[in-house]
């Protein structure tokens, strides 16, 4: 395991806990960054690597659960909650909002490490998905306006003729547009293109069936 590969953020108001967790993670060969409060965490400069947060529920400024809600909007690392006295509503709420685990102090080494590993793997996955989507988005941005019109029609499953008619252009022209779209979006096949469109959340405006009825 390389230390640079991932990082663990520890947010706990108790310095002893931060210290102990840092030491434990270090003994596991993990890099850790510790923060005394939610504010410190938010304000800090963080490396852009796969990571997770070990978050104490009781924090001096804002509650750990509130912090979870606050950062939920952005791309944040998966959270492993730790708490001095866990109650069921809190843990339920945390898990519901996507926390990887909810550990009660004192927790065992194995549980913690398992949770961390899971969290980092999850983040790694999310990151690669985000990266892939980013590539697709960049590709989509390279399309011409006409090609962007053509794409939904094609992935909706319309025939070339139907699509051409829809756009009021010749079938040959549509054919060219479609080829360009396939090429630019690096789609090996129409199925591939449909999957990409799905990832890009391009709305499917026409179904062949409805299109058929109109024709």
């Amino acid at each position: 395991m390389t230390t640079d590969d991932h990082i663990v953020f520890i947010v706990d108001d108790d310095a002893r806990i931060r210290e102990a967790l840092g030491e434990l993670l270090a003994s596991h060969g993990m890099r850790a960054l510790a923060f005394g409060s939610a504010g410190d965490y938010i304000g800090a400069e963080k490396p852009d690597v796969p990571s997770c947060i070990i978050l104490d529920v009781e924090l001096p400024d804002i509650n750990g659960l509130d912090l979870q809600r606050q950062i939920a909007k952005g791309n944040h690392p998966p959270i492993v909650f730790i708490t001095g006295h866990g109650d069921i509503p809190s843990s339920v709420r945390a898990i519901k909002h996507g926390a990887v685990d909810f550990l009660t102090k004192p927790f065992s080494d194995a549980n913690l490490m398992a949770a961390i590993d899971a969290a980092i793997a999850q983040d790694r996955e999310k990151r690669s998905a985000r990266a892939e989507l980013g590539v697709l988005r960049r590709r989509y941005l390279e399309l011409t306006p006409r090609e962007r019109e053509v794409l939904p029609l094609v992935v909706s499953g319309l025939l070339n003729k139907q699509a051409a008619a829809e756009l009021g252009i010749s079938e040959v022209t549509l054919e060219i547009h479609r080829r360009n779209v396939m090429q630019k979006m690096a789609a090996a096949s129409l199925a591939d293109l449909v999957r990409i469109a799905e990832r890009l959340e391009i709305p499917i405006t026409h179904s062949r069936r409805t299109g058929g009825t109109r024709v």
Binding site: D14, R16, I17, A20, L21, A26, S27, G84, F107, S108
Partner: protein, 1064 residues
């Protein structure tokens, strides 16, 4: 030739001369009545001679030439002589004219005016008598040679003719030629006389010459009349007229001088004689008359001058008759008196009396007497008196008069002279006065004045001297001896010797000696003697002055003594004193300074008159020298004093600090006369000051660097100092007073500002030390807790001089305390209001934190140790942390225990009933919600108990809540909770909480920790309660009631000696 040409006469004059010459020739021809006898009268000779007399000799050739031309012309017209004859005759004429003119001018030796008898005689004798000899001789010889006439016959006639011509024509010509420029004005009377005379003359001449009268010489009276009255002009004119009339009658033949041809020659001669005699007589008379007139004129002039002299002489001149009557005053006297002799008559008194009246009344009688006496005796009169001037002012006059006597010695007149001596009198008066004053001065002077003749005889001794020597004015000759005896015996020989030497050498001398006074004491005198010399340097007089200088001598002695003392003092004082001239040259250095210079400057004595700058340059440390130089020069330039500090070299070569002060001394006009300087060694002071400064700097640094606020306030409350720490805290500049004021006005937290100021003001007023805790506003607006203290500093009289304050930041400490207090409160509140479950959860959290850390660390430690190779270092660290955290956990537990067993400090004396009521009120809602009735049975007038209010409340809350929970299961019957307070015994108070619940099933174990009968609970409640009560020195127990429910009771001891009880 050139000179002749340049001296040529006016050609008009030459022409006129030639024409007159020709006319004269014509006239002579007309008179040549006797055939063959030649000329009877030769007018040209007179003309020629007169012309040459008047003309300059250089022009004579011109006139000779003119005459030659005229004669030749006349010869051609009338004489018809051969040319040679004519020329020879003319030569004779020229000789005659030249000789005559030369002789006449030679004899008279002055411009010939024909005004005196001498001149007339000269003309007659030399001009008319001798000169014609030449012409007669030459002419007669010529005639004889050519055989015309015999020499003897021709010569007399020739001579007489020429002489007559000269006599008649020369005066006329001279008169005409001399008066041709000037116009003599004749009065009308003279004109009339001239006319009458002319008529008479013409009439007499006509009658006498025409033969009607017996003799031609009858014409002489009118002729002489003309000569007397009209002098030469009249004579000349009359003679000319006579000659003309004679010629006319001779030619016409009616003249007496016309006769028979044989007598013609005699007749001619008679005529010539007549004319010659007439001319001679007339000219002589005219000359006499002329001379007489001249004499008269001269007399008149001299008389006028004399009269002017008498009038103008600056004195009064007067004349008296022998009787004393004034007959003449000169003009000055008239002007002075404002009246003439004639005016004296108008007074109605004699002239003499009138004169006496003008004299000052003081002298009038004396004047009259003196004058009368002189008149009577004939003695000379001399008197001084005051005479009244016309304007009434009296002037001093000095008058003298002397008699004039005739041959018989009889007094004819008195002549007097009187001159103004007013100024002189005043001057004399002033002189007398000044002399008198001088005399008084000399006598009044407090000195002895003696004067000596050159041979050593006393000439004068002033009065004071005489008095003091006890001599009378009469015999001061002996004063020398007396004076010498009075001289102090010690001084006497010296005095004698010196004076003798000086008298011999003629030098002035001065000596001081003691002289005995009347009372026998000796006093110092100063004698000075100087000779007075005349122009030649011979000594005329010796003057000696002796002055009493005793006081002065004593003063001088005192002065010398004081000066010596001063000098000794100046030399003895341990400072260097010097003075210099305004130009910088030295005047004085005191001995100490000189010694200093000598020691330091090798060739100091050789320097002569060194300048102060040079000396200082040598003396002063090179670093200071330029500044000192500059300061000094600045002083000298501006005239202001100055003080400077510098290091100077000492004997041993070491430098010591010195201070020099310079001040100018000015004279009355404010001009700087001298510069004074004093230099003193201030090495110790400077070094002490340096040390002091260093110490001050350190102290200042200390004050600035001490991590507290230090400040100083005047008794009036004005901040006079704030250290840097404080200034930084407020973010202001120490120097910026106004802003400091503003900051100080807003520095306290609004919550405390009034209180702080009140306290501070009271402290300032009363002088009691100030000590407070308050918040201060930092420059960034943050308030921080400060502990401020201030104490006054008092002077000897106990008056407060300053307040010194210290203020240090206790914010962190306060906040820590605050946090702790809040945590305690929180916990207290939690235990007060929350269930025990929550309490235990809270405690659990506190304990779990370190436990979690311990677990994590121990796992890390385990991992470090089990790693390959084991990381012992890290393991050690983690192990240490485990220990630390475990201790921390133990601390938490003990803190929790401490929470329930607080020290007596927190205890206060409370009424237990009030605490119970409080708890009931606190739990009113909870109780109401459970539908439970609470009965309180509180014994009034219970003594107060020392207790921790919060803890006891906590116990009550716990007990009440336990009771409520115990009654939850009870369905039937009243749910009632009884709280009772009562006096247990003499030393304790007892509180009981009784419920009607299920009661304790296992009453023995209820106090064990973690024993619980409840579903939710940690089983800590009663254990904690018991520990709290026990910490108060009381006891808590439980008992089940017989019927149902349970009672929990506790006692609290009365406050007898609570402190020791709690500590057990």
């Amino acid at each position: 030739m050139m000179s002749v040409w340049s001296r040529r006469p006016h050609f008009l004059h030459l022409g006129l001369f030639t024409a007159a010459y020709v006319l004269g020739c014509g006239f002579a021809q007309a008179l040549a009545i006797v055939p063959g006898t030649g000329i009877s009268i030769w007018p040209p000779s007179g003309l020629f001679m007169a012309t040459l007399i008047l003309a300059s000799r250089h022009s004579w050739p011109w006139w000779v030439l003119g005459g030659c031309l005229a004669e030749l012309f006349s010869n051609a017209l009338w004489f018809h002589n051969p040319l040679s004859v004519a020329l020879l005759i003319y030569t004779g004429n020229v000789l005659e004219a030249v000789a005559g003119a030369w002789l006449v001018t030679w004899a008279c030796r002055r411009p010939f005016r024909l005004e005196t008898l001498q001149e007339v005689l000269t003309l007659v004798v030399l001009g008319a008598g001798i000169a014609p000899v030449a012409s007669a001789t030459v002419g007669s010889a010529t005639l004889a040679w050519f055989g015309m006439q015999t020499f003897a016959a021709a010569w007399p006639l020739f001579w007489l003719g020429d002489a007559t011509g000269v006599l008649i024509v020369a005066p006329l010509a001279l008169a005409v030629l001399q008066n041709c420029g000037g116009r003599t004005q004749l009065s009308a009377a003279r004109w009339m006389e001239a006319c009458v005379l002319g008529l008479i003359f013409l009439g007499v001449a006509a009658l006498s010459l025409s033969g009607h009268l017996p003799s031609a010489y009858i014409v002489m009276p009118p002729l002489l009349w003309a000569a007397v009255r009209f002098e030469f002009k009249g004579a000349a004119v009359a003679l000319t007229l006579l000659a003309l009339i004679t010629v006319v009658f001779t030619i016409s033949g009616t003249s007496q001088f016309v006769g028979d041809p044989e007598f013609q020659k005699q007749m001619q001669f008679a005529l010539q004689l007549f004319l010659a005699i007439s001319a001679f007589s007339v000219l002589t008379v005219a000359a006499v008359s002329r001379q007489h007139q001249q004499a008269l004129l001269t007399l008149r002039d001299s008389e006028r001058e004399l009269s002017q002299l008498v009038d103008m002489v600056p004195s009064h001149v007067w004349r008296l008759t022998p009787d004393g009557e004034p007959t003449f005053f000169n003009k000055r006297m008239i002007d002075f008196l404002g009246l003439d002799v004639a005016d004296l008559d108008k007074r109605g008194m004699s002239r003499l009396e009138a004169v006496i009246e003008t004299i000052h009344p003081d002298e009038a009688i004396g004047f009259g007497d003196a004058l009368r006496r002189s008149l009577a005796t004939g003695e000379n009169f001399a008197l001084r008196y005051r005479l009244r001037r016309a304007d009434g002012v009296y002037h001093w006059m000095s008058s003298r008069a002397e008699p004039m006597r005739d041959q018989n010695g009889r007094i004819v007149q008195w002549y007097g002279l009187c001159h103004d001596i007013d100024d002189q009198m005043h001057a004399e008066e002033a002189l007398r006065r000044s002399e008198r004053e001088l005399q008084q001065l000399v006598d009044a002077l407090p000195v002895h004045v003696w004067s000596w003749t050159p041979d050593g005889k006393l000439a004068y001794v002033n009065k004071r001297s005489l008095e003091e020597l006890g001599l009378s004015g009469a015999n001061f000759e002996g004063s020398t001896m007396v004076a010498q005896k009075l001289v102090h015996p010690e001084d006497a020989p010296e005095v004698l010797r010196t004076s003798a030497n000086c008298l011999k050498a003629g030098d002035a001398f001065m000596m001081r000696y003691r002289r005995r006074c009347k009372d026998g004491s000796y006093r110092w005198m100063e004698g000075r003697c100087e000779p007075l010399r005349d122009q030649d340097g011979t000594i005329v007089h010796w003057y000696q002055v002796s002055i009493d200088i005793d006081d002065q001598m004593h003063a001088e002695e005192a002065l010398r003594r004081s000066e010596r003392q001063l000098q000794q003092m100046i030399d003895a004082v341990p400072v260097r004193i010097w003075s210099v001239r305004p130009t910088g040259g030295p005047i004085y250095f005191n001995k100490r300074y000189q010694d200093h210079f000598r020691a330091v400057i090798p060739n100091f004595d050789a320097l002569g008159e060194p300048r102060i700058e040079t000396l200082l340059q040598e003396l002063i440390h090179p670093e200071d020298a330029s500044e000192v130089q500059c300061t000094l020069r600045n002083c000298f330039d501006t005239g202001g004093g100055s003080a400077m500090r510098f290091r100077w070299r000492e004997k041993d070569g070491a430098y010591r600090w010195a201070e020099c002060r310079v001040e100018p001394r000015r004279d009355q006009d404010g001009v700087i006369a001298e510069w004074y300087g004093v230099s003193l060694d201030i090495d110790h002071e400077v070094r002490a000051q340096e040390a002091l400064r260093e110490r001050e700097r350190e102290l200042s640094l200390l004050v600035e660097m001490v991590p507290s606020h230090l400040w100083r306030v005047s008794p009036e409350g004005e901040t006079t100092f704030a250290n840097k720490h404080m200034a930084d805290y407020f973010g202001l500049d120490v120097e910026d007073k106004p802003r400091m004021e503003a900051v100080f006005n807003t520095m306290f937290h609004p919550d405390e500002v009034d209180e702080v100021w009140d306290v501070f003001a009271r402290c300032l007023r009363t002088g009691e030390p100030f000590s407070m805790t308050y918040r201060l506003r930092r420059h960034d607006g943050v308030y921080r807790w400060m502990s401020g203290r201030a104490e006054p500093m008092r002077d000897e009289s106990g008056r407060i001089v300053q307040w010194f304050g210290l203020c240090h930041d206790i914010d962190n400490q306060v906040r820590a305390e605050e946090a702790l207090r809040r945590a305690s409160e929180r916990l207290a509140r939690a235990t007060q209001a929350a269930s025990l479950a929550e309490l235990s959860a809270s405690i659990g959290h506190e304990v779990n934190q370190p436990l979690a850390a311990i677990v994590a660390n121990s796992q890390a430690c385990h991992r470090w140790l089990s790693a390959e190779p084991p990381n012992v270092e890290r393991a050690k660290i983690t192990a240490e942390r485990i220990t630390r955290d475990a201790n921390s956990a133990a601390d938490v537990v003990s803190r929790i225990r401490a929470l329930f067993r607080q020290t007596t400090n927190a205890k206060s004396s409370e009424n237990i009933n009030r605490v119970i009521s409080e708890v009931c009120r606190l739990m009113a809602d909870e109780i109401a919600a459970k539908d439970i009735r609470v009965e309180t049975n509180l014994e009034p007038d219970l003594p107060p108990v020392a207790l921790d209010c919060v803890q006891v409340q906590q116990v009550l809350v716990n007990l009440i809540r336990n009771g409520i929970e115990a009654m939850e299961a009870v369905v039937e019957g009243a749910r009632a909770l009884q709280i009772r307070s009562s006096r247990d015994d003499l030393h304790a108070i007892r509180v009981e909480v009784r419920d009607t619940g299920t009661g304790f099933k296992d009453a023995d174990r209820v106090f064990e920790p973690f024993f619980t009968t409840k579903q939710h609970g940690m089983g800590m409640g009663l254990a904690i309660c018991r520990s709290i009560i026990e910490s108060h020195g009381g006891s808590l127990w439980t008992a089940n009631d017989e019927a149902r429910g349970a009672t929990v009771a506790f006692t609290l001891p009365l406050a007898t000696n609570g402190g020791s009880a709690t500590m057990s």
